[in-house]
């Protein structure tokens, strides 16, 4: 009889515990829901503050000149689309030329980065050779070197080659894997692919190049995509190298052209300057919206800027 009494006591205790747990859970759920709403309110506020400058830029690019400063409203009293058409031709050379220039530099650089960096990454990640860890360490060290340190000798070198005022100093280094960051990114990805693939292909008599081309590359499209998008955006926004190597306005890229607007500041062409600024950001924003997933994953796995 005694046993059943204890059983009963235990049963009561268990029941009590379950009740307390249930209450706690209800309380927690309620707290969580309130917390969630608060969080959303806070995050939406932060989002608005973060985005306001961009919207202000967009709005100012459409406003009449006298409305740009002195008011916080984002809605123009009348839309001045001619800021865009006039801005396009505001400099001695039309923006068509600058965009073509930027497109040439960017597309060649992206191709260069993808080819040379994936080559190096394939060697580092999938082939075994004497000196591999030594060269890999060297490659990682180059990631730390500021561009400013190599800038002057590179400039002298390219000047002696007669490459200044051409796109070669901007493009050729990319075919020599100078943006070593992408090697690192691709090595991280290539290493995850199963080794058995290479081994099986090797047994079937595939050459290392065939393995690279037919196995590694097709399986690495996400990594290649991430590298392509980042190099596209970085080259598109690049300012320092074009500033040094391009002197002739006909060869200017878009960022250099935008800077010309600043030299004319005070001639009250703010609307046009903002309009061209907006246009220069459009390709970046489009790529961001289209490839957001790749970009986010790329940063999370490799920790790039």
């Amino acid at each position: 009889m005694k046993t059943s009494a204890t059983d009963l006591e235990i049963a009561i205790q268990v029941d009590e515990a379950a009740r307390v747990a249930h209450e706690l859970r209800l309380k927690r759920d309620k707290r969580d829901r309130n917390g969630r709403i608060l969080k959303h309110i806070f995050l939406i506020t932060v989002s608005c503050v973060m985005l306001y400058p961009l919207f202000w830029l967009l709005a100012s690019s459409l406003k009449p000149e006298n409305e740009i400063f002195g008011s916080l409203t984002l809605w123009p009293s009348e839309f001045r689309f001619e800021n865009y058409t006039k801005g396009w031709y505001a400099l001695p050379i039309s923006f068509t030329v600058f965009y073509v220039n930027s497109a040439i530099v960017t597309s060649l650089s992206v191709i260069g980065n993808l080819v040379s960096c994936s080559f190096a990454a394939y060697a580092f990640a999938r082939l075994s050779f004497t000196g591999r860890s030594f060269f890999f360490a060297l490659m990682m060290m180059t990631l730390m070197i500021p561009y400013h340190v190599v800038l002057i000798p590179q400039y002298v070198q390219f000047l002696n080659l007669g490459w200044v005022d051409t796109y070669l100093p901007l493009v050729v280094p990319r075919f020599l894997a100078s943006d070593a960051f992408f090697i690192f990114l691709m090595v991280q990805f290539f290493r995850q692919l199963p080794r058995e693939l290479d081994e099986a292909a090797m047994i079937d008599g595939c050459s290392p190049f065939k393995i690279y081309w037919a196995i590694i590359l097709p399986l690495s499209l996400p990594a290649m995509g991430t590298a392509a998008i980042f190099s596209l955006i970085w080259v598109w926004e690049d300012f320092l190298a074009p500033l040094i190597y391009l002197n002739d306005i006909k060869s200017y890229t878009v960022p250099l052209a935008l800077r010309l607007f600043l030299d004319q500041e005070g001639q009250s062409a703010y609307g046009q300057m903002f309009a061209m600024s907006v246009l220069s950001l459009v390709p970046v924003v489009i790529f961001f919206v289209l490839f957001q997933r790749l970009i986010v994953r790329g940063i999370a796995t490799s920790g790039m800027k």
Partner: protein, 297 residues
Amino acid sequence: MRRFFARNAPAYVFLLPWLIGFFLLALGPILASLYLSFTRYDMVSAPRWIGWGNYEYMFTRDRRFWKALQVTFTYVALAVPARLIMALGVAMLLDKGLRTIGLYRAIFYLPSLLGSSIAIAILWRQLFAADGVVNQVLAMVGIQGASWITDPDTSLFTIVVLAMWQFGSPMLIFLAGLRGIPRDLYEAAEIDGTPRWRQFTRITLPLLAPVIFFNLVLQTIDSFKTFSSAFIISNGTGAPADSLLFYTVYLFNEAFKFFRMGYASALAWFLLVIIATFTAIAFFTSKYWVHYENERD
């Protein structure tokens, strides 16, 4: 010998572009830069050896060098913690309890992608202009704003704010790190009645230490290299009153405006030393405060 060649040849073929690049674009220039730093070189006549002359001038007589160091270190000391705190704070908000974070993540990351462009630097100049947006907002709460860009006391602050605005990529890295912390640790702490703040200092911070370390190193190196925004906002000169004389801006002007290539090379080498020192300090001290979870004690 033949087997050695056969074994290594394919790899070196793949490595060739990078190897050429390494010697011609990295190692060669670094050594050349070291040599030039001991010369006077104006690109017209050949470099002339002057021994330690450039370094002596740099450390003992060049006021602008010290000013550039001061500006850059102030910037790094303000911008890096500000950016990392923003990044961690927002990442923690996004990490727990929200079902959809994709849109927020995108919005918070966008400025990082656009931030180094010339368009944004141009925009920033106008936002902080005397009659710009920032002062209008301040006027609404009754504060008479400064003339941010043209006042030497406040100009650096505008670039720190620009850096804070771009907290996106450390945020994404923190988010990935937070995902790696086992949920049951927090649940156990919750049952024990551990207050939120303690959960943060006892669980989140220690387990996130490797990620914090990684972000800290990355952002510090990155901040030392800040150029475009400072160059555009200061009109290429470091004005007003050298308050925006970032180290890289000073280096650029010495090299490509005044063609003092030898002296600029000395500046460049000192920058390399600074960055290497910071990286080394971070790595050597890391064992005292970074605990890797998969490490065997």
